[in-house]
């Protein structure tokens, strides 16, 4: 048990280190800005006096490392400073509700995509080179090649036009779960389709790889029933690759969510980020980028821990 805890602690420390460096990059990138924040806010109206005043107000006259640690300390407490575009509004206020919406959408898509993709992937691997496999594989390859907004608009064209589902996913405040699920169905379905394609192909590859290993062949050769080969011998060893596949694709959801939210006008973090990029509202972009990056690192970390736990060979590495 201590070994497990030590492994998890080690991975966590590594994840924290990665996050720390990522935060350095996200903060440091703004230092590349020609001029600085103060000039960016004032634009044409920048005179030496006003620039100096704004600098003092934002604390830009402090040295770099002090500003960084103040920013990081705030970020850890979910205080990301104030927005530039909407002067004086705390960034955390803008993010809080939208974070919930984005998580809801991502979870919704994941709940639909994971079982679907795993079933399709495993079936395609078991019935390799069958008609089912070929059709599933080539449609997945095509779906991967489609831009997210193409899939989204096709769905709008087919499903929203008939009036079955709303093409604008504005969720009214205080809507109950059923209403929310109904309104967010099309964005969730878009994400599901895109992610399923990736996940299915990767699951299929992982399972085929596994079925080619000698102990599976041995089990078959000694006359074991196929169902028992799968359940007793293949499945326990398939956990690690499958968990990896799921985690990688959930991480992929993070970027997919940005485009899909814009298409469906869904009030999530991705849309906030895109709006803030065009307004060059740097504190907001920094905050959202940090949240997305943290989710990404965290997902990869979880996948790493679970696949290590499920594989004794990795646990007892020499």
């Amino acid at each position: 048990m201590t070994r497990v805890l030590r492994m998890i602690a080690y991975r966590l420390a590594l994840g924290l280190l990665t996050l720390f460096v990522v935060s350095l990059i996200i903060f440091g990138a703004t230092e590349l800005l020609p001029g600085d924040f103060a000039e960016a806010i004032l634009g044409q109206a920048a005179t030496p006096e006003t620039v100096a005043a704004i600098r003092r107000q934002l604390g830009l006259d402090q040295p770099l490392h002090i500003r960084y640690f103040e920013w990081l300390w705030g970020a850890v407490q979910f205080d990301f400073g104030t927005s530039l575009a909407q002067r004086g509004r705390p960034v955390a206020d803008m993010i809080w509700v939208r974070l919930g919406n984005t998580l809801f959408l991502a979870a919704y898509a994941a709940v639909m995509a994971v079982p679907l993709a795993l079933t399709l992937g495993i079936l395609a691997a078991l019935w390799r080179n069958s008609v089912f496999d070929r059709v599933a594989n080539s449609s997945a390859l095509s779906a991967i090649s489609f831009p997210e907004f193409f899939v989204a608009y096709i769905l709008i064209y087919i499903l929203a036009q008939g009036g079955w589902f709303p093409s604008m996913a504005r969720v009214p405040a205080g809507a109950d779960l059923g209403e929310k699920l109904y309104r967010a169905f099309l964005p969730a379905l878009t994400l599901t389709l895109v992610v399923t394609a990736h996940m299915m192909r990767m699951t299929r590859a992982a399972i085929i790889n596994l079925l080619a290993s000698p102990y599976i062949e041995m089990a078959r050769l000694k006359g074991m029933r196929p169902s028992r080969v799968i359940v007793r011998h293949a499945l326990p060893n398939a956990i690690a690759p499958i968990v990896n596949v799921v985690a990688i694709n959930l991480a992929y959801l993070i970027t997919g969510v940005v485009v899909v939210e814009v298409v469906f006008v869904y009030p999530g973090l991705g849309q906030l980020m895109v709006d803030s990029v065009s307004r060059r509202d740097i504190p907001v972009v920094q905050a959202v980028a940090l949240i997305f990056a943290a989710a990404y690192v965290l997902l990869n970390l979880t996948a790493d821990v679970i696949s290590t736990l499920s594989n004794p060979r990795l646990m007892h590495r020499k």
Binding site: F146, T255, V285
Partner: protein, 307 residues
């Protein structure tokens, strides 16, 4: 009802595509000789479909001003006209000819994506080969740097950098190229690592060859095959990334005709049952599918030859 019509047109498109790619394979095999002839003759239909599409896009991109009936940026009529004999695909949100903009879009969108991929490859493979050949602290430093860059989702990183440097075509190309070069770096370094340990590299080192000679004459020829296949895949990713950014209004800026932003500008039409805005999106999808098909075939051939 819309769904049935959609299914019908999808089936028609599939049948036409199969017939065309079969014809293209016959034609391509007839005009080539030797090794090329055998490869093309035995190519699967998907691959010949891919090659046909890429060829068509190339021709359209090169001959854009000759094919397009109207100039790229000219307002030729009222907004959102339906499909007519004069304006084949109607007009867009500002009254520009959709068909002409689609044609010019081939040149702009594909050209920019290609330039970006080439730049990403230049940066990534030079640094990757250098890291593998020199080793030591350079290798460690570059690899850890790339690790950290790859810990940030690429679209998010691109958005962050575009906020800072502003949105213009040049910054777009540079930002995407730098982000994608990290992936190229990984691959080229990994492939070159396998080559660097070979005896003939050792011999070349002992002969006292310079670094430039080692990389260009000894290592590069042995790593081109995987890098070429990767180029196709990278192109797809870059192309999709640029289209996504343009769609978000942060990539290629108007009035330049570009498929991603054309979808964005005319998206309202879809809710009225007009499929025109789907066409540029479809054009993006078609090219990506085509490149994927060809890369798949090449990878299959490369692995088949080894066995």
């Amino acid at each position: 009802m819309a769904f049935l019509i959609f299914l019908f047109w999808a089936a028609v498109a599939l049948a036409v595509a199969i017939a065309l790619s079969w014809g293209f394979r016959r034609l391509a095999a007839a005009v080539t000789r030797g090794e090329m002839h055998r490869a093309l003759r035995d190519a699967p239909l998907t691959a010949s479909f891919g090659m046909m599409v890429i060829l068509i896009y190339l021709v359209v991109a090169i001959l854009a001003p000759l094919i397009a009936p109207f100039p790229e940026r000219m307002v030729v009529g009222s907004q959102f006209q339906p499909w007519t004999a004069e304006h084949w695909l109607g007009t867009d949100a500002l009254g520009r000819d959709m068909f002409s903009r689609m044609i010019y879009g081939t040149r702009n969108t594909v050209g920019i994506a290609f330039a970006t991929t080439a730049l990403a490859f230049l940066i990534g493979s030079v640094l990757g080969l250098l890291a593998a050949t020199v080793g030591g602290w350079l290798d460690q430093g570059l690899s850890r740097l790339v690790d950290v860059f790859m810990a940030i989702p690429s679209l998010i990183f691109a958005l962050l950098l575009l906020t800072i440097f502003g949105t213009s075509i040049l910054t777009l190309i540079l930002v995407i190229a730098v982000i994608d070069s990290t992936r190229v770096f990984r691959l080229s370094r990994a492939v070159a690592e396998g080559v660097v340990v070979m005896d003939y590299i050792e011999a070349a080192r002992l002969r006292g060859e310079r670094l430039g000679y080692l990389i260009t004459r000894e290592i590069l020829p042995n790593v081109t095959a995987p890098l070429v296949a990767e180029f196709g895949l990278r192109f797809c990713f870059v192309f999709l990334a640029i289209s996504a950014l343009s769609f978000l209004g942060l990539g290629i800026q108007p009035p330049t005709a570009d498929w991603g932003s054309m979808v964005r500008e005319n998206a309202t039409l879809i809710t009225f049952g007009d499929i025109t805005p789907l066409l540029p999106a479809g054009a993006i999808a078609l090219l990506t599918v085509a490149v994927n098909f060809v890369v798949d075939w090449q990878l299959y051939r490369a692995s088949g030859l080894k066995e």
